[in-house]
């Protein structure tokens, strides 16, 4: 009996222990899911945070602030070295000889643009001006001319001027005479350049010319200003006296040409430096011009140190490797995009306005007139439009394609009068002064494509090896540019798929020994070879035929290489023989599959309604097609009476122009927040959460956000991202600007403050060097880590559609692919340092004039292959972390309402996971809260703080959009869920940035250890008890037996 009892005891113990083992094992798994809550209840901590810098996910590359500053200066100087473009170099004017004195003429020679510090220029104490840079480079500057310019004409001083934003008076640098730094909003532009006849009146000695030695070289610097809200008005120039001249403000004025003349009179040679982000009209001083000079160089919009690099180029200390990011023409009227520029009203624009008829704004009279760039009017601002009828033919793509067709395809009527400004018949040589990609190297070299490999897969690359041969007797640095020509087929002609005869792909640079060779490998995603067919395939296609690759010193040289490859010669009309060979890659049949999907999503039309013809219902607009240059050359569609009321979609059109892209629904209750105790912190966000936005943590986290705060945080998102109640994310401050962080770093040890916004967008563009852009991205990112600032509007990637946009100085180029590759470099560098660098202003900010409402109509091919392609490299290929959306409309739709662009393209096709911000929200009738949420905007830039709610207005409604409240949105689950999804992307991005720049480690708490011991002990006890039970059971049976 005793044995039996003992067996029962052990059976019971075995059952108990097995049971406890199951409980402890499954319990351990369960506690893993509720670790944070258990920690909270028991006061334990499952994670330790390691704050030391070595453990940071994003580390500074520089040990001291001095090293950081030195790296920033180095990049800025290299931008000058690599971005300065020698456009014209005759009579040996360059490199400048140190034996000859230089004489500086022009206001900008002594105060290069920009002369004030701010967003665009750092203004550090050790900033280098042109006189200093040239002197440091070993040149002697004529003191007499310098003296009367600086002390007589310019007379630098300070004045109290009102702050643009606050109106507060503040001290600012001023001059008695200075070029106009801000051209205004299509206002008359005064070209302030003091003509030589006034020199003596302004303080020059009567014998000032005698001070100049006969062998001196004149350096004449001309500048053009720019700025936010600024747009040049074609033909609006005023002279120094303030008289209208009828000339283009970007052309050289008679006063400027008088300076040229006096420089030519007094000096042996004349070099002109172009100090502008807007391409100037240089016909008068170019070859054959009435005031032709010996040399012209582009120096862009400089910053603190770039001129040191420029001086190294001018003196030949480094080879000239910069290239023009834009085409320089004899007359801006020759640019087809200029035909449709500025915008005018629809014939019946008033019908969009309302007198109390908008249910969102009961009783309010809302107009439809244009507003200033900074808002302030009660208007939908949907009255103005432009038609971008030039299609993909922006910049060189127009000029080089037309040149190519004038020789290769006479049936296309390239040599017609349409668009000709210099003679009755269009002639490339007369219209174009300096082509895209042009830049004269001091050292003779050739560039040849050695091999091209095209990986024709969705994520494949074109890999081209370009051999650079240094034909000179000096070691040097050289630029290789890769161009392609895609086949233009019957299919294209039939379906209006436009192809540029020359397309820039990318570039690279290399050091090459004298007489030696070096290979430059250029890699660019194959997807950029595809064209968008919006009519037939309604996706990206690659035509059958030969794809021609060449390396060339500019787009025009590339065009000639292609023509020669196709059997043409100078006898056929080419203006020069080919300088390089062509490598062909053949595609046997049309491919409409490979690039018809991206990231698992189909690619098809998303912007049919961007076409004005979609609304008018007929062929109101004829978009430029190379198959008929004459018949399709753009007309000004502002001179065509477009009546909204005549549209078969008039109601829909009016609704869109009123900003009602989305209407709040009332039939699907939204789920309120569920606080699961998740929080945004390093303990809960581990690699598995950071690596996968689909990790359930993110969905659970954003579902802790209440309806009020989910919608509120999106529509009141900037310029500070506030802490969300149940998320407890850190506040993230947004920072300007395109030249780098404007915030100064103060070294506690020395008390010195240093500013890192020392970069130049214009010169990084003309450097044609994506590697340099990447290096700048890393430096920009490092500066963010030093400043503890992680969110920056730190570059501009909008295409320069015309020379007149006041923001061109913030952008890179007229070419989408140069912009794409430079953007790729900058954003990649920043992302690697955890800095959210958001490029401005995605979505056709083609002009500042009426940017807050103008409709830009276009085809979907233009939509996909021009401005947006410029952003694709940085945001998609480089996994950029932020972007700012343009102000204007795409078609009738506010760019910030454009779900096709922001969700279908940016998120789905491009796989972009970063934050998406609007530009300045300054007009509640134009920016529609619910439409922005539904498009995918993650933060609306409204500049307030602690305003994550839609109940801060009177009677608990939203403070801006009074029709928005918890009650009005709580029955629209799609809206609320989209708001949460948008915030998910934003929080996910914060987690992947330096905002969360600490490492955490999981440690075992006492209860982890207890559970672990319990599991082991109960398992052992269960096994032992089972064994004992078996033994006693069997012994008992034996005894019984």
């Amino acid at each position: 009996m005793k044995t039996k009892k003992t067996a029962s005891l052990f059976r019971g113990l075995a059952a108990l222990m097995a049971c406890l083992f199951v409980l402890s094992s499954l319990g351990a798994g369960l506690t893993e899911n509720y670790r944070n809550q258990i920690d909270g209840m028991l006061g334990t901590s499952s994670y330790v945070t390691i704050n030391d810098e070595d453990a940071a996910r994003f580390k500074k590359d520089y040990a001291t602030i001095e090293d950081m500053v030195a790296a920033a200066k180095d990049i800025a100087i290299r931008e000058g070295e690599e971005g300065t473009v020698v456009m014209k170099n005759d009579n040996g004017v360059l490199p400048l000889s140190k034996d000859n004195e230089v004489v500086l003429f022009g206001l900008a020679a002594y105060a290069p643009y920009p002369y004030t510090s701010g967003d665009l220029k750092a203004g550090n104490e050790d900033a280098v001006d042109l006189v200093t840079a040239l002197t440091d480079a070993g040149l002697k500057v004529n003191e007499t001319v310098k003296d009367f310019y600086m002390n007589g004409i310019l007379n630098k001083h300070t004045e109290m001027v009102p702050n643009r934003w606050t109106g507060e008076l503040q001290e600012a640098v001023a001059y008695d005479n200075i070029y106009v730094a801000a051209p205004g909003d299509m206002a008359p532009y005064q070209v302030v350049e003091v003509p030589p006849e006034l020199f003596e009146e302004k303080g020059a000695p009567a014998d000032w010319k005698d001070s100049i030695k006969a062998d001196s070289v004149a350096i004449v610097v001309f500048a053009r200003g720019a700025g936010e809200g600024n747009t040049y008005a074609p033909g609006s120039a005023l002279n120094y006296a303030g008289e209208a001249t009828g000339k283009d403000p970007l052309a050289l004025s008679d006063d400027e040409l008088a300076i040229i003349d006096v420089a030519k009179e007094t000096c042996a040679k004349v070099l002109v430096l172009v100090n502008s982000g807007n391409t100037m009209v240089l016909k008068d001083i170019a070859k054959g011009g009435d005031h032709e000079v010996d040399g012209i160089a582009y120096i862009g919009v400089i910053n603190d140190y770039q001129l040191t690099g420029t001086a190294k180029v001018l003196t030949g200390e480094v080879n000239s490797t910069g290239a023009l990011p834009d085409t320089y023409v004899a007359d801006n009227a020759a640019i087809p995009a200029v035909v449709n520029f500025g915008g005018e009203y629809y014939a019946d624009y008033e019908i969009v306005g309302t007198e109390g008829g908008d249910a969102r704004y009961p009783g309010e009279t809302i107009g439809n007139t244009k507003a200033s760039s900074f808002g302030g009017a009660t208007t939908y601002n949907g009255g103005h439009y432009i038609v971008e009828a030039e299609g993909i033919y922006v910049g060189y793509k127009y000029f080089e394609t037309r040149y190519f067709d004038s020789i290769m395809n006479p049936d296309y009527k390239a040599a017609s009068a349409a668009g000709a400004t210099q003679s009755d018949i269009w002639n490339y040589g007369a219209e174009v002064l300096y082509p895209f990609g042009h830049g004269l190297s001091y050292l003779d070299y050739t560039q040849t494509v050695k091999s091209v490999n095209v990986d024709l897969t969705e994520n494949g690359n074109i890999t081209a090896v370009v051999e650079i041969k240094n034909n000179s007797d000096k070691d040097g640095y050289f630029l290789a540019q890769l161009y392609v020509q895609q086949p233009y087929t019957d299919y294209d002609r039939e379906n209006l798929v436009e192809k540029s005869a020359v397309t820039f792909l990318s570039a690279g640079k290399a050091q090459v020994k004298a007489g030696g060779t070096a290979d430059v490998t250029i890699t660019v995603p194959t997807k950029y070879l595809a064209s968008y067919d919006y009519k037939q395939a309604k996706t990206y296609i690659l035509d059958a035929g030969d794809y021609l690759f060449t390396a060339a010193a500019g787009a025009h040289e590339a065009a000639n290489n292609f023509l020669a490859h196709l059997g043409k010669t100078v006898a056929d009309g080419m203006d020069a023989e080919a300088k390089g060979s062509v490598t062909a890659w053949n595609l046997a049949s049309l491919d409409n599959k490979t690039f018809a999907t991206a990231n698992g999503n189909p690619i098809t039309n998303i912007a049919d309604d961007a076409d004005l013809n979609f609304w008018t219902g007929d062929n109101t607009v004829t978009y430029l097609s190379r198959q008929d240059w004459e018949g399709t050359y753009p007309i000004n569609y502002n001179e065509v009476a477009i009546k909204i009321a005549d549209s078969p979609k008039a109601d829909e059109w009016i609704k869109e122009l009123r900003g009602q892209t989305y209407t709040i629904q009332n039939n699907s209750p939204a789920a309120e927040a569920v606080d699961k105790g998740l929080r945004f912190n390093a303990a809960q966000i581990q690699d598995e959460q950071r690596d996968d936005i689909n990790n359930e943590y993110w969905d659970d986290l954003v579902h802790e956000i209440t309806i009020d705060e989910a919608v509120g945080a999106v529509i009141h998102g900037g310029s500070t991202s506030d802490t969300l109640t149940n998320v407890e994310n850190p506040i993230v401050y947004q920072n300007e600007g395109v030249s780098g962080f404007t915030t100064g770093y103060t070294d506690e040890a020395t008390g010195k403050t240093y500013k890192f916004n020392i970069h130049s967008q214009t010169l990084i563009g003309s450097s044609f060097n994506p590697d340099l852009a990447y290096e700048w991205g890393l430096v920009e990112g490092n500066s963010g880590l030093w400043l503890n600032r992680f969110d920056l509007w730190g570059t501009g990637l909008t295409q320069r559609r015309t020379p007149y946009n006041g923001r061109n100085y913030e952008y890179i180029s007229e070419d989408p692919m140069l912009t794409n590759r430079i953007g790729y470099g900058i954003l990649k560098g920043c992302a690697e340092k955890g800095i959210m660098n958001g490029p401005k202003h995605m979505g056709f900010n083609d002009q500042e004039h009426n940017r807050g409402g103008v409709s830009a109509y276009m085809t979907e091919q233009k939509f996909r292959e021009t401005d947006l392609r410029g952003f694709q490299g940085g945001l998609s290929d480089a996994n950029g972390l932020a972007v700012m959306i343009a102000f204007n409309r795409i078609g009738a739709t506010n760019a910030a309402h454009h779900a096709g662009m922001l969700t279908t393209m940016l998120r789905d096709e491009w796989g972009y996971k970063g934050l998406i911000s609007t530009d300045m929200m300054n007009n509640k009738y134009y920016f529609n809260a619910e439409s922005m949420v539904m498009s995918g905007i993650t933060q609306v830039a409204d500049f307030a703080q602690n305003d994550n709610h839609i109940n801060q207005g009177d009677n608990g409604v939203d403070k801006t959009w009074a029709y928005i409240s918890v009650d009005s949105v709580k029955n629209d689950s799609a809206l609320v869920e989209k708001a949460r999804e948008n915030l998910k992307y934003q929080l996910y991005t914060f987690a992947n940035s330096a905002v969360l720049n600490v490492r955490t480690e999981r440690v075992n708490t006492w209860w982890d250890n207890a559970l672990s011991i319990a599991k082991t002990a109960t398992l052992v006890c269960a096994c032992l008890s089972c064994a004992a039970w078996l033994a006693f059971t069997l012994i008992g049976k034996k005894k019984e037996g």
């Binding site: 005891l9 059952a15 097995a18 049971c19 499954l26 606080d675 059971t1033």
Partner: protein, 152 residues
Amino acid sequence: MKKLSVGAWITCVAVVLAIAAFVLYSSNIGGEGYYKDAAVNNLPLMVWGAVACLVVAVLLNAAKGGKVIELLSGVLRIGAPSLLAYGLMNLIAGRVDGLGYIYFSNADVAKEVQTAANMASAQSAIWSMGLLGGAMLIAVIAAFFSLRKKNA
């Protein structure tokens, strides 16, 4: 009935409690309220498996048999509480989020979520967990007792 041992009686109690827990669980997911249609993976298998183990163990002991029968019965009685424990943990894992939501949300949310149906559903879930836990405990206790009544 008088022939049943204390162990068998206790086992029967465990069986009844397990069945009661399952019935309550079934009504919980079948009726109105927060846990409507919120079935828990493997729970029926675990509960009915445990019930079967216990019933078979009792029946096996009612029959005359040798050590194989006794060993088989013992294994079933050791295993049954573990199955109930497994089921209980799955039930807790499937209910804890909802219970936290219903009982521990902030005031605004609680006002929305603490409806009569949801509260009844939550209480029913708690009861089913309690009954299942009770069944497990009683089954463990039963394992300490013999299923055969001592001979007089």
